[in-house]
Structure formats: structure tokens, C-alpha cells
């Protein structure tokens, strides 16, 4: 493998890791060539044209704009090439995740809380199967954090007030560092953890061994009743509120004439800021739950509503 020959470099273990490493190598070679040429010329001129050295200095004031145009064009073309290359890999890294195995991450000062849909939860660790893409849905309870796995060449900020999703795939089982990369206060450097990539069968075993309390969606259902959501959003309700069965993933027409897809972000926003996007044909009656539900509870509600969609 060519990547093992880069000094001090541990090859990335994600599918895009190879592309990032190749890009890095390209950048290194381009820079080495540019620097090599520059240092060679500097050294050559310093020795050859040192004061007192008798060499030909005729026409030393002669100059031509050809030089300016050539090196400007050459730099611009090289830069454009690197720009296109870097951008194409970036779009791969941040492509929209497929909705497969979803894992929720709540970041707070100073820990990572990871919750699997079956209810298994872990602190400062993320267990995942090898060679199977997982989709992370991340939220922050307080300040900005950043989810960074150097071995996967992936990083994404976790900004409070919104969901961020990210697709992770690991090609090799093992233990990898998880860092918080955005400064978040006192114990920022302690907000680290481990990504444990397991063989798929092993991962299935691990999930069953974790003895979860109950699946997150079920807990979300309990919350849905406890918070009084079911009082309006149910078939027998006297209040004219949209039914949520089957809504997840489907288009919702809004009162302003536009349409949105009811994804995690839309459901989260509708709980916290119900009046920002009103479904067409309904009165803006719903109170905001801003400050009344934690990120942990929110993701359970989202999962519950999602589970309604799967029922026939």
C-alpha cells in the first residue's frame, strides 16, 4: 500500500480516507516541488551573486512582463486543480447520509453521549460494525463541540440548536480516537473517547449484551403522552392538529405554499419553534417546547414519530 510510505502517517480507515490521503500526498508533492525550486533559486542566487563575486551581471535591470504573466498563470492553474480535487472529495465526505443504521449523539460539557435506537447508550464511546455505513445524528446540549475521528478523516461541528448528520463507515475493526475539536471550556481536552469498530456479528452480540431499558422510540411514546402531545395529535382529538402517523419522510405542504420533507430537523424544529413552519390547513395553536425538553428527550420524540411512520 502506497500510503504506508508517507512518514508518520497512519492510513485512514474509511472509504474516503484513501481519497483524503491521496489528496494530502498530492498537496505534499506539489509543495515540495514549489519549495524545492524556490530554495534552489534562493541558494543559487545567494552564492552566485554575493557581493564581490565576479560574475556576469550584464542587463541586470532588464525585465520582461512575460515572467509575471507566466508565474501568475502557472500558480493560478495549479491552485485551480487543487481546488477542484479538494472540493470533489469534500462532497463525498459530506454527502447526504442514507437512512440506515442511525445512532444519536448528544454532546455536552464535557462528554459524548451516544444512544443506539434499541436503547443502548454509552458515554465517550461509539461501538459500530465494520464495513457498514452508520448515520450519526448529532445535537449539542450547550456550546459548540466538534466530533472528530482522525482515523476516518472526518470531523463535523456539533452546533447547539440544530441537528447535524454525518455518515461514518470504517473498513477495519479496531479502536480509534474520538476527539472534541472545537474548544468548549474547562475540560475540553478531556472530552475524548473511543470509536470501537467491531466485526458485524460481534457488534450484534454487543447490542444484545447491553441489556437496554427499552427502545428509544418506546420511551419517546411515553414522553409523547406525558408531555401532552397525544392530547391533540391523535385521531380522537377535538383539536384540529395534524396526525403524525406516516408523516416521517413524507412531504408536508406548508401554509406559505412551500413544501418540506418531514425529516429529523423538521420534526425537531416543529417541537421547539412550532410557529416557524405551519402545516397548510392548520391553525398555529401549538405552544413551543423550547426549554421544556432536553436534547435527550427530543431525539426520543423524533424516533417515536419516525416509528409511527413504519406502522402499516
Amino acid at each position: 500500500m502506497w500510503r504506508q510510505w508517507i512518514p508518520f502517517w497512519h492510513p485512514g480507515v474509511s472509504p474516503e480516507g484513501g481519497d483524503v490521503d491521496l489528496l494530502f500526498t498530492g498537496l505534499l508533492i506539489a509543495s515540495a516541488l514549489a519549495l524545492g525550486l524556490l530554495f534552489f533559486l534562493l541558494a543559487l542566487f545567494c552564492v552566485r551573486y554575493r557581493a564581490g563575486n565576479e560574475v556576469d551581471r550584464e542587463n541586470h535591470e532588464a525585465k520582461s512582463w512575460y515572467w509575471e504573466v507566466s508565474w501568475t498563470t502557472a500558480s493560478l492553474l495549479c491552485f485551480l486543480g487543487l481546488f477542484v480535487w479538494g472540493a470533489s472529495v469534500y462532497f463525498e465526505l459530506y454527502r447526504k447520509p442514507l437512512d440506515e443504521l442511525t445512532v444519536f449523539v448528544v454532546a455536552k460539557q464535557w462528554m459524548w453521549k451516544v444512544q443506539h435506537p434499541g436503547g443502548q447508550s454509552e458515554i465517550n464511546a461509539l461501538h459500530m460494525p465494520v464495513n457498514r455505513p452508520i448515520r450519526l445524528v448529532m445535537a449539542s446540549q450547550d456550546v459548540i463541540h466538534s466530533f472528530f475521528i482522525p482515523a476516518l478523516r472526518l470531523k463535523h461541528d456539533v452546533v447547539p440548536g440544530r441537528y447535524q448528520d454525518l455518515e461514518l463507515t470504517a473498513r477495519k475493526a479496531g479502536h480509534y480516537h474520538l476527539f472534541c475539536a472545537e474548544y468548549c471550556g474547562t475540560a475540553h481536552s478531556g472530552m475524548t473517547g473511543e470509536i470501537v469498530v467491531m466485526e458485524q456479528a460481534e457488534f450484534a452480540n454487543w447490542l444484545t449484551q447491553q441489556a437496554p431499558a427499552s427502545p428509544l422510540a418506546d420511551e419517546g411514546g411515553a414522553l409523547f403522552r406525558q408531555l401532552g402531545c397525544s392530547g391533540c395529535h391523535s385521531a380522537g382529538s377535538k383539536i384540529h392538529a395534524p396526525l403524525l402517523e406516516g408523516i416521517y419522510g413524507s412531504p408536508v405542504p406548508l401554509s406559505d405554499g412551500s413544501t418540506v420533507i418531514a425529516d429529523d430537523k423538521y420534526i425537531r424544529d416543529s417541537i421547539l419553534l412550532p410557529r416557524s413552519q405551519i402545516a397548510a390547513g392548520y391553525e398555529p395553536l401549538m405552544p413551543s417546547f423550547e426549554g421544556k425538553v432536553t436534547e435527550d428527550q427530543l431525539l426520543r420524540l423524533v424516533l417515536y414519530i419516525k416509528s409511527l411512520g413504519r406502522q402499516p
Binding site: H10, E16, V20, F24, L27, S31, A34, L38, L41, L42, F45, C46, Y49, R50, A51, G52, R57, H60, E61, K63, W67, W71, T72, S75, L76, F79, L80, L82, W85, G86, A87, V89, Y90, F91, L93, Y94, V143, I144, S146, F148, P150, K155, V159, P160, G161, R162, Q164, F179, C180, A181, E182, Y183, C184, G185, T186, A187, H188, S189, G190, G291
Partner: protein, 535 residues
């Protein structure tokens, strides 16, 4: 009896603290900035000692966070931004353009007082208990979660910003209005062009920083939601506003350094700067394009992919004028008659270090690699190559070059060269290992770190020890020269600029006879003798 000059004109304290002479104000700035440089440097030294081992041993996490915040705030706003403009620029600009003073001498003095007020407020915040937000003041951490003296420090930075605006304004008006007869725009030394570009950024960008800091205060004190999502704000709005100032501020910090390098390279190659007009306009191109790249600090925040694409593209484009400059400096050496006095050693070090800093900047402009490298030590290494390897090296080069003019004394060439070489070696040993650390994934602002990163950290800390000692050296031999150095002639380097055509140190009114400029800058005869601009 000593000759009457701006230093010997009056010895009272009053004559210093109420002076309107640009040369004396430059000295006031020089003394203040030297103090801030060593305060910021002490914080860096403490951090490097702490990082020699993976565990926390010297300081606690809260103290460490205060150290890097203090280092950043002091170095950015109280050393780098004012460094070359307010010391060398203040002293040299009127001399270079054949003027008696800046356009607004009293405004110049006010700008120093405002600067000192801002500096004192910031120092008070540090002494009272410190700030732990990092120099970037990211929200909502700074507005809601930090229990440190955020608003006091922000007030200090806010106040110091007005000093920047006043200085920028003063330079712009001076360069437009006070040029000597015959000194057309294309006869201006390139140092003037680069300070002009810098001043434009100072005047246009600094108000945005002031507005941003005011918004933080309004949110913190009155609970109006600008940045906090719980009250309807957007944390990323702060980053947009902050970097809209702070990325152009990076060019405030490097353009004056580039300006100095033109003067040094030309004088010690005994040749005019290659491609004068390209270098001049490259400065203005950098100033203009620098306003369009701020989003490259936000590639992993979840901003739209299209925005990232545009900002990445513009970041590559802004690198072109910098590349043009490096090529032109190198071409200037060709067929020159090179002397390697201390200022030239600094200039050559600048070209090498700035180029490494610039090239690694392209790594970070490259979207996919930035996802991996942003917020790691790769970024720390990159911007220190620009800010310290570039700007501080240029500052030292310029200081040595104009020292005989400023003080009227010659320093020890032997010690000056030794310090230049030691700074170069110490710098590379400190910061090159940080590229490796970043590429391996070590995040920045980490107080403790996994043991596998230790080797590179030890190298970096060792380099920092050398660098700290090397930065202290000039304090001694330059200080010594002020009292015991040989008297400097008017033009010790045999340079053609107007500032060298008056005595060293200059008289209070700069020129006994108003100089009239008759030729382009940087002219040398076939025997490499300077041809003064006014002869």
C-alpha cells in the same frame, strides 16, 4: 555637544507623553509593544512547558485555557496588528515620503492613548482572573457559559480597535496628501503601498469587530438573542461576523511585513524590486480579496456546501498575489550584488518561512483536507509560520534595518546575525513538528493529550526554549547599542530612500530642506551605488 535631533530636543517626561512628533510616538509604541510581546511570549512559554508531557503537571486546565486565550489576545491585538504599522510605519512613513509628520499628529498621539487604555483594560481582565474563551470569543460559550472576565477583555479589544481605525485613517490621508513634490504614486516605495493597503483594511474591517463585540455584550447583559439558539439566535452568525473582521485582520498582520521585505531585499541586493507594479498592486489585490474568504474558517460547521465551495475557491485565488510577491522577491536577487547583513538574513528567512506558511494555507483551503486538519495543530503551525515566521521576522528585519536611523547608533553585527540564525532555527524546531502533530490528528487547545503525540511535542517545546532565548537576545545588544554603540552615519546601508537622506537620528522637523523627488525608488548605479530619490 550632541547635535540637536528629535531625541535630544527635550528630555522631560512631558515632552514624551504630550509629543505630537510621529518619531517619538513611534518610540512610545515600540516600548509598549515590546512589553506586550514579552507578556504574550511568556504565556506561550508556559504552555510549551506544560505540553512537554501528555499529563497535566504544571498548570490546571482552567489556567491552561486562560494562558492560550491571553497569548492569542495579546499577540493578535496588542502586538501583531499594531507591530509594523505603529512603530516602523509611524517612524518611517513621513520620512519616506518627505513629509514633516503624519497628516494628523494629535490624532496619532490620541491613537497611542486609546491603544494603551485598551491594553490596560485587557491586562486588568487578565490579572483579575483571566479569560477562557480563546481569542476567537466563540458563542454561545463566550456569551452564556464562560465565567471569566469575557466582557472586560472584549471591552479592551473594542477600545484598542479605535486606535487601529485612527492609525489607518491617518496613514491614508498622509499618503494621499503629504507626498513630497515629484513623489508620484509609482515612485512610492513599496512599504508605503503595503501600509496603504493595510490601512484600508484597518478602516473597513475593524468596525465590524466592534459591532460584533457590542452584540456579545447586548446578549450577555440584556438577553437579546443574536447568537444563543435558546433565545432565537444563531451561533454561526457570530463566526461569520467575527471572521469577516478576523480574516482580513490576518492580512493586516502580514501586508506590512511584506512591505518591509521589499525594502530589505532591494537594499541588500543593490537592485530595484523586480516587477514593481505587480508587487504594488498585489498588495491591494490581497486587501480586496481578503474580504471574500472568511467562510474558509467554517468548512466543518455545517454551512452550505455551496458556500464552502465559493470560499475555498476564493481562498485559492487570494494566494495568487502572495505567490506573485515571492516570485518577484526571488527574481530581485538575480544578478544583484548581495550582502548578508542581519536585515538581509531576516528577509531571506521571511521568504522561506512565509512560503511554507502560504503553501500549508493552500492545504487548509483545500476542502477535503481541511475537514481533517482544521482545529488541529496543523492550523496552529500554519498560522504561526505566517504570523511569527512571516510578520515577526519582518518586524525584526525592519527594526534592524532602520535601527541606525531611529537611534542614531550602530548595533553589533555579529550578535545581530547570531540572533537571526538562532530565531530561524528555534522557530522551525518549534513549529515544524506541529504540522506532523496536526496531520496525525492532535486537536489544538488541548491541555492533556494521548501519549503517542509526546515525541513531537517534546521537539516543539525544545524549539520554543531556543526561540524564547533568541527573542531575548536583541533586547541586550540593541539596548547596549543605544548607550554604547558607534554613531550611525545618515545612510549606513547606502540606500536610495528619502528616509536615508536626512541625518540619523533625524531632526524634529525631519528634513532641513524639503526634498524634491526626481526618480523612481530603488535605483542603483552600474557599480551598485545608491541613487537617492531626491538627487
Amino acid at each position: 555637544m550632541t547635535e540637536r535631533n528629535y531625541l535630544t530636543a527635550d528630555y522631560t517626561l512631558r515632552s514624551w507623553f504630550f509629543t505630537t512628533d510621529h518619531k517619538r510616538i513611534a518610540i512610545l509604541y515600540f516600548a509598549s509593544l515590546t512589553m506586550f510581546f514579552f507578556i504574550g511570549g511568556a504565556a506561550a512559554t508556559a504552555m510549551r512547558i506544560e505540553l512537554a508531557t501528555p499529563q497535566a503537571d504544571l498548570v490546571s486546565d482552567d489556567i491552561y485555557n486562560r494562558l492560550f486565550t491571553m497569548h492569542g489576545i495579546i499577540m493578535v491585538w496588542f502586538f501583531l496588528i499594531p507591530s509594523i504599522p505603529n512603530t516602523l510605519g509611524n517612524f518611517i512613513v513621513p520620512l519616506m515620503i518627505g513629509a514633516r509628520d503624519l497628516a494628523f499628529p494629535r490624532l496619532n498621539l490620541l491613537s497611542w492613548y486609546v491603544f494603551m487604555l485598551g491594553g490596560s483594560v485587557t491586562l486588568f481582565a487578565i490579572l483579575a482572573g483571566g479569560i477562557d474563551t480563546g481569542w476567537t470569543f466563540y458563542t454561545p460559550f463566550s456569551t452564556l457559559y464562560s465565567n471569566s472576565y469575557v466582557m472586560v477583555a472584549a471591552a479592551g479589544v473594542f477600545i484598542a480597535g479605535f486606535s487601529s481605525i485612527l492609525t489607518g485613517l491617518n496613514f491614508i490621508v498622509t499618503i494621499h496628501r503629504l507626498r513630497a513634490p515629484g513623489l508620484t504614486w509609482y515612485r512610492l516605495p513599496l512599504f508605503i503601498w503595503s501600509l496603504y493597503a493595510t490601512s484600508v483594511i484597518l478602516v473597513l474591517a475593524t468596525p465590524v469587530l466592534a459591532i460584533t463585540l457590542v452584540l456579545i455584550a447586548v446578549e450577555r447583559f440584556f438577553g437579546v438573542g443574536f447568537f444563543d439558539p435558546r433565545i432565537g439566535g444563531d451561533p454561526l452568525l457570530f463566526q461569520h461576523l467575527f471572521w469577516f473582521y478576523s480574516h482580513p485582520a490576518v492580512y493586516i498582520m502580514i501586508l506590512p511585513g511584506m512591505g518591509v521585505i521589499n525594502e530589505l531585499i532591494s537594499c541588500f541586493s543593490r537592485k530595484q524590486v523586480f516587477g514593481y507594479k505587480f508587487v504594488a498592486w498585489a498588495s491591494l489585490a490581497i486587501a480586496a480579496l481578503g474580504f471574500l474568504v472568511w467562510g474558509h474558517h467554517m468548512f466543518v460547521t455545517g454551512q452550505s456546501l455551496l458556500a464552502s465551495l465559493v470560499f475555498s475557491f476564493m481562498s485559492f485565488v487570494v494566494a495568487v498575489p502572495s505567490a506573485i510577491k515571492v516570485f518577484n522577491w526571488t527574481a530581485t536577487l538575480h544578478k544583484g550584488s548581495l550582502r548578508f547583513d542581519a536585515p538581509m538574513l531576516y528577509a531571506l528567512a521571511f521568504i522561506g518561512l512565509f512560503t511554507i506558511g502560504g503553501l500549508t494555507g493552500l492545504f487548509l483551503a483545500c476542502l477535503a483536507f481541511d475537514v481533517h486538519a482544521t482545529d488541529t495543530y496543523f492550523v496552529v503551525a500554519h498560522f504561526h509560520y505566517i504570523m511569527v515566521g512571516g510578520m515577526v521576522t519582518a518586524y525584526f528585519g525592519g527594526l534592524h534595518y532602520w535601527w541606525p536611523k531611529i537611534t542614531g547608533r550602530l548595533y553589533s553585527e555579529y550578535w545581530a546575525r547570531a540572533a537571526a540564525i538562532l530565531i530561524f532555527l528555534g522557530f522551525n524546531l518549534t513549529f515544524f513538528p506541529q504540522f506532523v502533530l496536526g496531520a496525525e490528528g492532535m486537536p489544538r487547545r488541548y491541555h492533556v493529550y494521548p501519549p503517542e503525540f509526546q515525541v513531537w511535542n517534546v521537539l516543539s517545546s525544545g524549539g520554543a526554549t531556543i526561540l524564547a532565548a533568541a527573542y531575548l537576545l536583541p533586547l541586550f545588544y540593541l539596548g547596549y547599542s543605544v548607550f554604547f554603540g558607534a554613531r550611525a552615519p545618515a545612510n549606513p546601508w547606502d540606500a536610495p530612500g528619502l528616509e536615508w537622506q536626512t541625518s540619523s537620528p533625524p531632526p524634529e522637523h525631519n528634513f532641513d530642506v524639503q526634498p524634491v523627488v526626481t526618480r523612481a525608488p530603488y535605483q542603483y548605479s552600474r557599480k551598485f551605488e545608491a541613487q537617492p530619490q531626491n538627487a
